[in-house]
Amino acid sequence: TGAAPDRGAWIVEMELIRDRRDKEAFGRLFAHFAPRVKGFLMKSGTEAGVAEDCAQDVMVTVWRKAHLFDARRASVATWIFTIARNRRIDIARRERRPEPEDLGWGPEPDASQEDSIALQQDTDQLGEALRTLPEKQRALIERAYFGDLSHREIADLTGLPLGTIKSRIRLALEKLRHAMDQST
């Protein structure tokens, strides 16, 4: 009893941005994520000045797309990563990125708290597991994400600590498909 369950980092800020267009909340999000996005782009081979501009672009996109953020599907860090990744594809290769069909997660307010808490816990555990990986394996994963490895060189990256999160996401998807089948 007492304290509300921890809904995970940055979700409150995202809601303040989405519902109230709160610039102070945006400032907090910026202070945390903008340097990380900039660093990610630089480690991916982007020159510092361009990375600075792009990190700002990514944060502006976060503000504009705040209504598309869904805490049941991804943590804030995951969501911002996907925006940064797409921006990198855009600047480095000037090509479009085909996205999968959307499963149409409608508003489903009751289940959402619980799902987003569980997802956040898995995400935290994954981050923890990543920190305790052997240095060599961790470096290899980073190279895969920074674009230093070709898709063939990635082939040996097995045994990643993805098990729990993968099955959680899969369960959520199955629940959703089930709900869609019943509504049609």
Binding site: F26, F40, A77, L126
Partner: protein, 214 residues
């Protein structure tokens, strides 16, 4: 839905990391549209990407936040496209974007033996095409210099390794020589992507290769 042949972990990770050629991204996005288990894998690799962000910090310019805040109230020129839900039809939504519609919008070109193809506009790092193989017909015996991904959209084909039905992906590399044959009964339509030209065994298709652009 009974998908048996899935994408490899390295393709799923490469898609999440954003490092695959566009043509391969198209195959992954198409398969993921039909396959929840690969979708879950992509989303967990994206989570891994989010976790990696924690360790990449690089200081922003002193006026970074201020100049960002100044842009928030403007409308911006970026068009926000809401995610597209699945629509009934044969082609998954990401493919429809490239074709400009469902099956009837494909502009087929005959390549001989009743086989037809339609090359899709992607970046040059790998090529993507739709293939139409009449029921019972074969694609010439060939090997691969690079990686070839073939996803079945309609009908089914079989080769030396197995049978592939709707949603299945065959991942072929240098080690595989095969002759895919469409199952009798229904014409087979596939999406194929490759990062290097194919290598045909007989002289006839090799002559035709520059013309086929494969």
């Amino acid at each position: 839905m009974s998908i048996k042949h899935h994408l490899t972990e390295s393709l799923l990770m490469g898609y999440a990391a954003g490092t695959l050629p566009e043509a391969f991204n198209l195959v992954v996005a198409s398969h993921v549209s039909m396959c929840d288990s690969c979708r879950a894998a992509v989303e967990s690799y994206e989570t891994l990407g989010g976790a990696l962000l924690d360790d990449t910090s690089s200081e922003m310019a002193p006026d970074g936040l201020a100049s960002c805040l100044a842009r928030l109230d403007g409308g911006g020129d970026e068009v926000i496209v809401p995610p597209r839900p699945a629509a009934p039809g044969t082609l998954p939504a990401p493919l429809r974007d490239y074709v400009g519609g469902d099956l009837e919008a494909i502009r087929w070109r005959p390549v001989g033996g009743g086989v037809k193809q339609a090359i899709l506009p992607t970046s040059a790092s790998a090529s993507a095409r739709l293939l139409f193989i009449p029921a019972g017909a074969a694609v010439p015996d060939h090997g691969h210099r690079g990686m070839e991904l073939t996803m079945v959209l309609q009908g089914a084909f079989a080769d030396e390794t197995d049978r592939f039905g709707r949603g299945d992906v065959e991942v072929a590399d240098e080690e595989l020589e095969h002759m895919p044959v469409a199952e009798p009964g229904e014409d087979c339509i596939c999406l194929a992507a490759t990062d290097a030209p194919l290598r045909f065994r007989s002289w006839l298709p090799r002559l035709a290769q520059p013309f086929l652009k494969i």
